[in-house]
């Protein structure tokens, strides 16, 4: 099993952001998937549970907060690490989630776009390392 490539699902409605992020991640031995909105993301996760979810917040159909809410209430997905990657400021975002759900936002990393590729890769590696421990 140690040969298995970690599977990362990247969710963003902006095709250019998605393209750039995937290009950076392709430099590493990861298996990659993508979705363009929250609904697609949930459909994809139901078929194949990722080792890490990189998630935008402001998206059509179902937004990132909705994805976090659904994932954290479903035992099968509740332990998938989530990295939020967004232009929304962290404070405002956490406040909104708390107001809507009455719970604190259970995500493992919060990165404000844009991010430097080296930073992104380091953070991804760190989150994946935690999963394997």
């Amino acid at each position: 099993m140690s040969e298995r490539k970690p599977y990362i699902l990247v969710v963003d409605d902006d095709p250019d952001i998605l393209d750039g992020i995937l290009m950076i991640l392709e430099s590493q031995p990861y298996r990659l998937g993508f979705a363009r909105d929250g609904k697609q993301c949930m459909e994809s996760i139901a078929k194949d549970i990722p080792d890490l979810l990189i998630l935008d917040l402001l998206m059509p159909r179902m937004d990132g907060w909705g994805v976090i809410r659904e994932m954290r209430s479903e035992p099968r997905f509740s332990r998938v690490p989530i990295m939020v990657l967004t232009t929304v400021i962290e404070d405002a975002s956490r406040r909104r989630y708390e107001l809507e759900t009455g719970m604190s936002m259970d995500v493992q990393d919060y990165v404000q776009k844009p991010t430097k590729p080296v930073d992104l890769l380091k953070r991804v590696e760190k989150l994946l390392a935690k999963v394997h421990v």
Binding site: D16, I17, G20, I24, E26, S27, T87, K116, V118
Partner: protein, 397 residues
């Protein structure tokens, strides 16, 4: 074009009563006011009043719809355009400036559909209200309510507009920056020396634009009362550590050493923690912008009996004396900034935050032993007796 029809006074008085501004008046007041009113019918696109012109007539809408428009001019040289800021329907008034100093219309008004209006002669109405204080008070009450409503509405519109604009502007920028970073990192293939330099310049300029957009939105949202609701107890040394983290990358890129001078232990102070971080970060960033490579920027914080003193010193070229009085003005750029990128919003944001803390922000050039300018010193003074909203509430109980 309009046609004017004469109505018996009592009918007109009854119609006046249906307008919100005159709804509380006695019959005799309404009949008296009706004497200097006339009814007008207007077609679509008729201009009822023009912004900044003498406000001599108050209009009441009986039927139809008016658009309130404001002239907007961005920069001194662009053509002004009219933007619709609201609509007025039956029962509502247009031209309240007729009753308020300096009696010039605050907006232009255009009919968006065929409309019937009651035009009230402004001078006669003012005279009547002067000599009939009770009626005057009632009308003024309505006017105050109306103006406060329009004020709140415009603030809400502005905030909403800004949050939309900021996201809409930031998203494409984030995508561009993301691609540039991907290219710069070599994840999309190798770049030659020249291409790499250009891509790196693009990254800087785009990042600057992104920060500017954030600043513009911030500046517009930054009202003292809003900042004061965030007052809480915090440890100044923690905030300085966060600011240092904010500025670390730029310092490394520009080869600037940031020296920190703090007392070993800091008592907590009341203030808007996140905003104070912004003040320190902006001052350090500003210092670095003009500091030569290899130089030092010093951040020091200390308590005096009644205030927290924050100082940021740099070893740059100083600020030309003529510019000193203006550097806290929105969008002001000192005359010697040369190639340094960015519009000067950081300092005006810092000043707004410090003002909301009832503090002071001072700037002076430093001189060496020969009397030559050897850098700039910014000093922020924050009083130590500020109160959290909770403390203020308890005082009232």
């Amino acid at each position: 074009m309009s046609d004017v029809s004469i109505q018996p006074l009592t009918i007109l008085a009854e119609r006046l009563r249906r307008s919100e501004v005159f709804s509380d008046l006695e019959e005799e007041d309404l009949v008296a006011i009706a004497e200097f009113c006339r009814e007008e019918n207007h077609r679509e696109d008729d201009i009822i009043m023009v912004e900044d012109e003498l406000a001599d007539t108050l209009f009441i809408v009986e039927r139809g719809k008016l658009a309130l428009e404001k002239k907007i001019q961005i920069g001194r040289h662009s053509t002004p355009r009219n933007a619709t800021i609201g609509y007025v329907g039956p029962g509502k008034i247009a031209g309240f400036s007729t009753l308020a100093w300096p009696q010039t219309y605050s907006t232009s008004v255009v009919c968006v559909e065929p409309s019937r209006l009651i035009a009230v002669d402004g001078q006669a109405l003012r005279q009547y209200l002067d000599t009939h204080p009770r009626a005057g008070l009632l009308v003024m009450n309505h006017l105050a309510t109306l103006i406060s409503y329009r004020y709140r509405q415009s603030i809400n519109t502005l905030t909403y507009f800004l949050s939309i604009v900021s996201h809409e502007l930031r998203s494409p920028l984030a995508a561009i920056e993301n691609y540039l970073q991907t290219m710069d990192g070599g994840y999309a293939g190798d770049l030659n020396e020249k291409q790499k330099r250009m891509v790196q310049r693009c990254i800087l300029r785009v990042a600057d634009l992104r920060i500017l957009i954030g600043d513009v939105v911030d500046l517009a949202r930054m009202r003292p009362e809003q900042i004061q609701t965030d007052f809480e107890w915090f440890d100044p040394s923690e905030v300085s550590a966060e600011s240092l983290e904010d500025t670390r990358l730029t310092a490394a890129e520009k080869d600037i050493h940031i020296k920190i001078e703090l007392p070993s232990r800091f008592e907590p102070i009341v203030g808007a923690r996140r905003r104070m971080r912004q003040v320190i970060t902006n001052l350090v960033n500003n210092a670095m912008k003009f500091a030569p490579a290899g130089s030092q920027v010093t951040l020091s914080m200390r308590y005096e009996p009644e205030a927290l003193i924050i100082e940021v010193l740099d070893e740059g070229a100083g600020i030309p004396p003529d510019d000193l009085p203006h550097i806290f003005t929105d969008f002001y750029r000192a005359s010697n900034v040369g190639d340094a990128v960015g519009l000067g919003l950081g300092l005006s944001i810092a000043k707004k935050i410090v003002d909301a803390h009832e503090g002071d922000i001072l700037v002076k050039n430093l001189k060496d032993e020969n009397g030559d300018i050897s850098g700039t010193a910014f000093t922020v003074i924050i009083p130590r007796d500020l109160k959290t909203p909770e403390m203020r509430r308890r005082e009232w109980m």
